[in-house]
C-alpha cells in the first residue's frame, strides 16, 4: 500500500518537474525557435523562391542536358576563374533555372572565394537583379544574420538543444496523450490554444523529434569537436574522416605545367550512365588548367535518403576514371541519412509539400506554445488589468516574433520587387528591409494594447501577402495568369500560396477579434427567455 502511494507521488513529482522543464525550455528560446522553424519551413522551397526572386530569368521548360551544361560552365570558369585552385559547380535539376558555381580566389588566406550564377544554356553569367532569394531564409535558419557565422550557428544549436529537451519533457509530462489520442474531449470550450498546441505536438511528434535531432547532427562537428581533436593528430588523419563526409580529392601540389582539361562532358556522361540522366549533382575541379588537375563528379540527391559522398574521380587532363567512391563506413552513413532527412533534398514535389506542411505544423506548435504561456499566466495574475513587467514583455515579444515575422518575410519579397536594379549592395538592402520591418513590428507591439496589436498585425500580414501577387503582376512580366497559362508552377505556386497564407492570417485575425466578444456575451442567453416570459404574461 505504502509503496503504491510512494510510486504515485513519485509519478506526479516527475510529471510536475518535467512540466516545469518543458515550459521553461520552450519559453526561454521560443522566439528564436519560432523564427528557425518558420524560415526552415519556407526553405524547403528555397530553390523555387530563388527563381521567383529572379523574374528576369526565363523558366526552363525542360531540364537541360547536365553534361552539356557542365562543359559550358567549365569553359566559362576557365575565363572567369582562371588560375583558381578549386572550382565547384552545382548542376541544374528540375528546381533551378541557373547554375550556381563558386571558386577559390587568391585572397586573404584560404577562406576567400568568388561565386556567381550562370545561365545553363549559354554558359554566361546571368544578369538579373542582385538578390539572395530563397538562400536568405535558408541561411538565416541556421546561422541568423548580422552575426559572425559561428556565433549564429552556436545560437541555433543551443536553441535546438532546448527544443530537444522541451520535446522529451513534453512527452514525459503527457505520456497518456498517445493512448488517449482519439478519445480526448477535443474542441470543447475556450481552451483552443492549449488543445491546438497539444494536437500539433502529437501529430508531428516523429517529425519534430527527427528534425530537431538531425538539425543538431548537421552541425555536430562544430558543437562536439572533442572526439575529433582527441583522435586525429595530423591533417592526414583528419582527412580520413573528411572523406567519409563529403567529396574529397587529395589537394596535392599543382605541377606548375598548364594543360587543358579533358572533356568534362564525357566525364559527366559516364556519371549519368551510372546514376541516371538527370541525377548528377556537383562537379568539383582541383587545380583546373594544370597538369595535375582532378575532377570529381558527384551523384545527385534524388532516389536515396543519404548525403554521404558518392562520386567518380577523374584525371583532369586525360579524363581517365581513377576511382569510384560509393560507400562509407556505418557511422558515416548514419550521419549521411540523418543529414538527408533534415534537408529533404531527395524529395519529389509531393514529398516536399509534405515536408513543408508538417514543418508548418511544427512552427504552429511553437507559436501556440508561446501564446499558451501568456494565456495561462494571465489567469494566475493577481490583477489582470495591470500585469507585471515580465508578463508584458513576453506578451509583446510574442506578437513581434510570431506575426511580426510573417510581415517581415513578406516585406523581404516586397523589397525584392520594389528596390531598383541595378543598385549598390542590393541584396544586402533587401535583407536590411526585412530586419527594419521586423523592428517596426516590435515597436508597434510595444506601443499598442496587446489584443489590438495582434489583430492589426494579422491584418497587415494578410494584406501584404494578398497584394504580393498583385505587386508581382504590376512590376514584372510574369503575372499569375501568364504563369497559369504556361504551366509555370513555380511562379503560379508561389502566388497562390501567398493567397492561401493571406487567408490563414485573415482567419487568425477574425478569431482573435471574436475571442474578445465571447467574454462579453456571457450574459446574453438569459434575456430572450425573460422577454418571452414577460410577453406571455401580458
Amino acid at each position: 500500500m505504502k509503496a503504491d502511494k510512494e510510486a504515485q507521488r513519485a509519478g506526479r513529482g516527475i510529471r510536475q518537474s518535467m512540466s516545469g522543464l518543458h515550459t521553461w525550455a520552450g519559453l526561454l528560446l521560443g522566439w528564436v525557435l519560432y523564427a528557425m522553424f518558420l524560415t526552415g519551413t519556407v526553405s524547403y522551397f528555397k530553390d523555387e523562391l530563388s527563381q521567383w526572386t529572379r523574374p528576369e530569368l526565363a523558366r526552363l521548360s525542360q531540364v537541360p542536358d547536365q553534361a552539356a551544361v557542365a562543359q559550358r560552365i567549365a569553359d566559362e570558369l576557365g575565363n572567369v576563374a582562371a588560375g583558381s585552385s578549386q572550382w565547384s559547380i552545382r548542376l541544374p535539376d528540375g528546381r533551378n533555372n541557373s547554375v550556381y558555381a563558386f571558386w577559390r580566389t587568391r585572397g586573404q588566406g584560404q577562406r576567400a572565394f568568388g561565386e556567381a550564377n550562370f545561365d545553363p544554356t549559354t554558359g554566361q553569367k546571368i544578369s538579373s537583379r542582385e538578390t539572395l532569394g530563397g538562400e536568405f531564409f535558408f541561411r538565416f535558419h541556421f546561422q541568423l544574420h548580422y552575426l559572425p557565422v559561428v556565433w549564429g550557428r552556436w545560437i541555433a544549436g543551443i536553441a535546438a538543444m532546448f527544443m530537444l529537451v522541451a520535446i522529451i519533457s513534453g512527452v514525459i509530462t503527457h505520456k497518456r496523450i498517445f493512448v488517449d489520442f482519439f478519445t480526448f474531449r477535443w474542441g470543447k470550450g475556450q481552451r483552443s490554444w492549449l488543445e491546438a498546441h497539444n494536437a500539433l505536438s502529437v501529430f508531428g511528434l516523429p517529425f519534430h523529434f527527427m528534425i530537431t535531432y538531425t538539425g543538431l547532427v548537421t552541425l555536430m562537428a562544430l558543437y562536439m569537436p572533442w572526439g575529433e581533436n582527441a583522435a586525429f593528430k595530423t591533417p592526414a588523419e583528419r582527412q580520413q574522416m573528411t572523406s567519409e563526409l563529403s567529396v574529397f580529392i587529395q589537394p596535392g601540389k599543382p605541377s606548375g605545367q598548364s594543360a587543358p582539361l579533358a572533356s568534362v562532358e564525357d566525364m559527366v556522361r559516364q556519371a549519368q550512365e551510372r546514376w541516371g540522366k538527370g541525377n548528377v549533382g556537383r562537379v568539383t575541379f582541383v587545380h583546373p588548367g594544370d597538369a595535375a588537375a582532378r575532377v570529381a563528379v558527384a551523384r545527385g540527391e534524388a532516389g536515396r535518403v543519404s548525403m554521404s559522398p558518392q562520386y567518380m574521380e577523374f584525371e583532369g587532363t586525360t579524363g581517365k576514371l581513377l576511382n569510384v567512391r560509393d560507400s562509407v563506413g556505418a557511422a558515416a552513413e548514419t550521419r549521411g541519412v540523418l543529414y538527408a532527412l533534415h534537408l529533404g533534398r531527395f524529395s519529389d514535389t509531393q514529398t516536399r509539400w509534405l515536408y513543408f506542411l508538417v514543418s508548418f505544423m511544427g512552427t504552429a506548435m511553437v507559436g501556440t506554445g508561446l501564446v499558451m504561456w501568456t494565456v495561462k499566466r494571465r489567469s494566475r495574475l493577481r490583477d489582470p488589468e495591470r500585469p507585471h513587467f515580465g508578463f508584458r514583455l513576453v506578451e509583446r515579444l510574442n506578437i513581434a516574433s510570431i506575426v511580426g515575422l510573417s510581415i517581415a518575410m513578406t516585406a523581404f519579397l516586397w523589397a525584392n520587387r520594389l528596390l531598383p536594379h541595378p543598385m549598390e549592395a542590393r541584396a544586402d538592402w533587401e535583407i536590411h528591409a526585412f530586419f527594419a520591418v521586423w523592428a517596426l513590428t516590435l515597436l508597434h507591439a510595444l506601443l499598442r494594447p496587446a489584443k489590438a496589436a495582434w489583430i492589426e498585425q494579422f491584418w497587415t500580414a494578410a494584406a501584404l501577402l494578398f497584394l504580393l501577387p498583385v505587386l508581382n503582376a504590376l512590376t514584372t512580366q510574369r503575372p499569375l495568369w501568364h504563369s497559369l497559362a504556361q504551366g509555370d508552377w513555380v511562379f503560379a505556386g508561389i502566388d497562390v500560396t501567398c493567397w492561401a497564407l493571406a487567408l490563414l492570417h485573415v482567419v487568425l485575425a477574425v478569431r482573435t477579434a471574436r475571442n474578445r466578444s465571447i467574454v462579453q456575451s456571457k450574459r446574453m442567453p438569459q434575456v430572450p427567455v425573460a422577454i418571452a416570459s414577460s410577453g406571455a404574461a401580458e
Binding site: M18, L21, Y213, L216, Y223, A231, M241, A331
Partner: protein, 93 residues
C-alpha cells in the same frame, strides 16, 4: 532584507540544477564523445558515432538533472556517469 536572503537561498537548488544541466550535461556529452574512441572500431567511425550520440546523452543528462529528487542527487548522477567514462576517455587521450 531577511526575506530577500531567504528567497535567494531558496533558489539555490534550482540554480545548482541549471548549472548541472547546462554545463554538467555538456561536459558529460563531450566526455562520452571522447570515451567512445575506446571502442573497437576504426577511428573515423568512432569519432562520428561519438558526435551522433552526444546530443542524446546531453538531453538524457538534462532530463536526469530535473527528474532527480534533489539537486545533490542531480550532481551525484552526473558525477557517477563521468567517473565511469573518464578512465575510457583517458585511455584514448
Amino acid at each position: 532584507m531577511n526575506a530577500l536572503i531567504r528567497q535567494v537561498w531558496a533558489t539555490g537548488p534550482l540554480i545548482s540544477r541549471i548549472m548541472a544541466a547546462v554545463f554538467g550535461g555538456y561536459a558529460l556529452a563531450a566526455l562520452a564523445s571522447v570515451a567512445v574512441l575506446a571502442l573497437p572500431m576504426s577511428k573515423p567511425q568512432a569519432v562520428l558515432t561519438g558526435m551522433l550520440a552526444s546530443f542524446a546523452i546531453y538531453a538524457a543528462a538534462v532530463i536526469w538533472v530535473f527528474a532527480a529528487r534533489s539537486a545533490w542527487k542531480s550532481w551525484a548522477g552526473l558525477i557517477v556517469a563521468a567517473a565511469v567514462l573518464t578512465p575510457l576517455a583517458w585511455s584514448v587521450g
